[in-house]
C-alpha cells in the first residue's frame, strides 16, 4: 500500500510537471447544491444515475448493493444505482489524473473510503464537500457527537464523508483444534508457545495485520497516549518500545519463526482455511458467521477479542470532487445511513450498523435485535463494550515502517 501510495505521489508529481499550464477549474453545480434545501436535492436526483465505486472483492456486498440498495433507491427516489468494483488506490489514482487534467465531469459519484486514504484524498482536494450536514438522516439516525462521526482515524471529517459501516478487529480460531481464546497479550504469547509455528499475522502494511499490531501496541502501551501523538518517528518508536520488545519475543514461536509473514490477510485466510495456522483475524466482526454459512469455515469456529478491547473503526462514503451527479450521491448516501438500509446491511452482510441505538424507534430496535447473526460470533453489545479508537492516520505508516525495521526476522 505504501509503495502504491508512493507510486501515486510520484505519478502526481510527474503529471503536475506535464500539465503545469493546462486545465482550468470550474464547479458548475456545486455552488447551488451547498445552499439547496433537501427537497430540492431529492427533486434534482430524480431519474438520475449514481455510480458508487469501492472494493469489489466481496460477493455478498456486491449483491446487496446492486440488489437491496439499488431496488430501494429506485423505488423511493427513482435513482438508478450501480456499484462498481475498484480498489481504493485505483480510485484515487483515477481521481488524481482527472483533477490534473482539469476534468469537471468525472464518472465516479460516491466512494467507499476511510483512514489514510480519506486523509490523502481530502488534503488533495479529491473530495466534494462539506455535505453531510444537509443529509436529514445524519440527524435522524447517527450519533453526531460520536468521535467516529467527527473524526476518521483521529483526523477531522469536516462533513466530507458519512458513516457507512463499523468495522472491528476480531480474532478467531477453531474450538475443535484449539479451545482456548487468549484474553490479553500475555495469554497470546502463551498461545503462540503452545502452538509453535502455527500462529502468525499478515505482514504490515496489510490493513488487518497493521490493526493487529496496533492492537498489541495498545495492550502493551495503552491507547490514550497515541490519540494526540505527533507522527515523528523517534517519538513513536520511544512510545512503542515495550510493544516492539514483545513482538520480537513472539517471533520464535510464530509461523516460519517470524522471519517471514503472510503477504496479506487474504494469504492468512487461506492458510487458516487450509489448517496451516490455528488462528486468524478479521476486520469484519461477524465474518466467522459468513464463513460458516458459506461453508469455508468449520462450524466450530469461535470469535474472540482481548478483554481490554480491540481496535474498531468506521468506514465511510464520500463524494468525488468531479462527481457528475452530486445530488444523486447525497440522496443515496442519505438512504444508506437510514435505519431500513442499515438493518438490511446488518442482517444480510452482518456488518456493525452505524445507527445510534438511542435514536431508533421501538419497532426499529426490535428489528435489529431480531437479526440472527449466525454461528461463532460475539454479540454487538459485547463488541461495542470492547471497542478501542484508532490511532491518528499519519501514525499508521510510521508504525508500519518501524515494524519492518525492528520486528521482522529479529
Amino acid at each position: 500500500m505504501k509503495k502504491r501510495l508512493l507510486t501515486i505521489l510520484l505519478m502526481l508529481a510527474m503529471v503536475v510537471s506535464m500539465t503545469a499550464c493546462g486545465g482550468k477549474q470550474a464547479e458548475p453545480e456545486s455552488a447551488d447544491l451547498s445552499s439547496a434545501g433537501w427537497d430540492e436535492i431529492v427533486e434534482q436526483a430524480k431519474g438520475t444515475k449514481v455510480a458508487f465505486y469501492g472494493w469489489g472483492g466481496d460477493e455478498n456486498r456486491n449483491n446487496w448493493l446492486n440488489g437491496t440498495v439499488a431496488d430501494y433507491l429506485k423505488e423511493n427516489y427513482d435513482i438508478d444505482f450501480e456499484y462498481i468494483g475498484m480498489d481504493i488506490n485505483d480510485i484515487l489514482a483515477k481521481l488524481t489524473s482527472e483533477k490534473e487534467a482539469g476534468e469537471e465531469n468525472g464518472s465516479i459519484d460516491m466512494i467507499w473510503i476511510n483512514g489514510e486514504n480519506f486523509y490523502t484524498a481530502k488534503e488533495n482536494g479529491l473530495l466534494y464537500g462539506p455535505f453531510t450536514s444537509q443529509l436529514p438522516n445524519m440527524e435522524a439516525y447517527v450519533d453526531l457527537d460520536d468521535p467516529e462521526t467527527l473524526n476518521d482515524f483521529c483526523k477531522p471529517i469536516d462533513g466530507y464523508e458519512a458513516p457507512y459501516a463499523k468495522a472491528q478487529l476480531v480474532m478467531f480460531n477453531d474450538s475443535a483444534v484449539t479451545p482456548e481464546t487468549p484474553k490479553n497479550a500475555d495469554e497470546f504469547l502463551e498461545y503462540c508457545k503452545a502452538n509453535k509455528g502455527k500462529v502468525t499475522y499478515p505482514a504490515l502494511p496489510d490493513f488487518t495485520g497493521s490493526a493487529f499490531v496496533r492492537n498489541l501496541i495498545y495492550e502493551k502501551c495503552g491507547w490514550e497516549q497515541f490519540q494526540t501523538m505527533e507522527a515523528d518517528k523517534a517519538t513513536v518508536k520511544d512510545a512503542i518500545e515495550p510493544a516492539l520488545e514483545y513482538l520480537r519475543e513472539l517471533n520464535p514461536y510464530l509461523w516460519n519463526e517470524g522471519k517471514q509473514f503472510p503477504a496479506d490477510s487474504t494469504a492468512l485466510d487461506q492458510m487458516f482455511q487450509d489448517g496451516e495456522v490455528v488462528m486468524n483475524m478479521s476486520y469484519g466482526p461477524f465474518s466467522v458467521a459468513s464463513g460458516i454459512a458459506d461453508g469455508t469455515l468449520p462450524e466450530t469456529c469461535q470469535t474472540f477479542v482481548f478483554e481490554n478491547g480491540n481496535i474498531g473503526n468506521t468506514n465511510y462514503m464520500a463524494i468525488a470532487f468531479d462527481a457528475p451527479n452530486k445530488a444523486g450521491a447525497m440522496v443515496a448516501i442519505n438512504a444508506i445511513i437510514s435505519g431500513d438500509i442499515q438493518l438490511t446491511q446488518y442482517s444480510e452482510l452482518r456488518e456493525l450498523p452505524v445507527v445510534d441505538q438511542s435514536k431508533l424507534s421501538d419497532d426499529e430496535k426490535a428489528a435489529f435485535d431480531a437479526v440472527d447473526l449466525g454461528k461463532g460470533v460475539l454479540p454487538q453489545s459485547e463488541l461495542l463494550t470492547h471497542r478501542l479508537p484508532e490511532m491518528p492516520a499519519d501514525l499508521v505508516p510510521v508504525i508500519e515502517e518501524i515494524w519492518a525495521e525492528e520486528v521482522v526476522g529479529k
Binding site: 506535464m18 489524473s97 464518472s107 487461506q270 487450509d274 496451516e276 461453508g295 469455508t296
Partner: protein, 262 residues
C-alpha cells in the same frame, strides 16, 4: 531412439504441468473447504454457480462485451501490424529501424505508469470512460507483439510471389490477397490470437481507461482473486479460459474457411 523417448517424456511432463493445475481449478469451482492434508475437498458447494448465473454481475452481458472488445482489438491490431510490417520489411520506408524500435516501446514502460499517463491524455481527448478509449489503450498494449510477429513472417515471405503474380497480370490488390495472404496466414493467426488474449486479460488499463464503465470479465475476476475467494475466482477463471478457447477455435475455423473458399 533414446532421443525420441526423452522428447516424449518432456512432452508428457509439460502436458501434465498444464493439465493438473487446470483440473485443480475445476475442482475448486465447487469446493467449500479443502484443508490440508485431504486429497479431495472436505465439503462442496454450489454457491459459485449460483453467483455466476444469478449474481449481480450479468454474465452474458460481460462475456459479450469482453469478446467483442477483444475481437475488435485483435482485428485492428493485426491490420495495423500487417501494414507496419509491409512498410518496414518490403518497402524502404525512411527510419524503419526507428519505427520497429518504437513499436516495442510500450513493453519497456511499466503498465501502471503507462496507464496513468495515458489516462490524462484520454481525458484531454474526451475519450476517457469510452469504448474507443479502451480499444486504443488495448491496442497500444497488443501492438508490440502483433508487429513483431508480422514483421517476422513478412520478412520470411517477402514479396517475390506477389511480383510474380504482378508479372502475370494481377493487380496489386489481387496479387497481395491471392499470393501473399495464404503464406502470411499462420502469422496473422498468431497475431490475432495474441492480441485477443492480451486485450482479454487487461485489468488495470481497462479499469483506468474505461473508468469501470466498460465491463470485462477480467474486471470481475481480478477482485475475487485479490480477495482470496478461491472458489469464485476459480469459476470465473474457468469461464475466462473456456470462453477464450472457444473464441480461438471459432476464429481459426473461420479464417481457414475464408482462405479455402478463395
Amino acid at each position: 531412439m533414446k532421443d525420441k523417448r526423452f522428447m516424449k517424456a518432456v512432452l508428457v511432463i509439460t502436458a501434465l504441468m498444464i493439465f493438473i493445475p487446470v483440473v485443480v481449478i475445476v475442482i475448486w469451482t465447487v469446493t467449500a473447504r479443502w484443508p490440508w492434508p485431504s486429497l479431495l475437498p472436505e465439503s462442496y458447494t454450489l454457491r459459485t454457480a449460483e453467483e455466476l448465473f444469478f449474481g449481480s454481475h450479468k454474465l452474458t452481458e460481460i462475456l459479450l462485451s469482453s469478446i467483442l472488445l477483444a475481437t475488435l482489438v485483435a482485428v485492428l491490431g493485426t491490420l495495423i501490424a500487417l501494414m507496419t510490417a509491409r512498410a518496414t520489411e518490403i518497402y524502404n520506408v525512411k527510419g524503419k529501424r526507428a519505427i520497429s524500435f518504437a513499436a516495442l516501446m510500450p513493453l519497456l514502460v511499466p503498465g501502471t505508469v503507462f496507464a496513468m499517463g495515458i489516462q490524462v491524455t484520454l481525458i484531454r481527448m474526451h475519450l476517457n470512460d469510452t469504448i474507443t478509449g479502451v480499444v486504443l489503450v488495448h491496442l497500444v498494449a497488443a501492438l508490440p507483439y502483433c508487429i513483431t510477429i508480422m514483421m517476422d513472417v513478412t520478412a520470411a515471405v517477402g514479396d517475390s510471389l506477389e511480383e510474380q503474380a504482378a508479372v502475370l497480370g494481377a493487380g496489386p490488390l489481387r496479387s497481395f490477397v491471392d499470393a501473399s495472404i495464404p503464406q502470411l496466414l499462420p502469422g496473422i493467426l498468431s497475431s490475432v490470437s495474441m492480441a485477443y488474449i492480451i486485450s482479454y486479460s487487461q485489468y488495470f488499463t481497462t479499469l483506468l481507461a474505461g473508468g469501470g464503465k466498460i465491463k470485462t470479465l477480467a474486471l470481475v475476476l481480478v477482485p475475487y482473486i485479490q480477495s482470496g475467494d478461491r472458489a469464485l475466482a476459480s469459476i470465473y477463471a474457468v469461464v475466462f479460459v473456456g470462453s477464450a478457447l472457444i473464441v480461438f477455435f471459432i476464429l481459426e475455423t473461420l479464417i481457414h474457411r475464408m482462405v479455402k473458399t478463395k
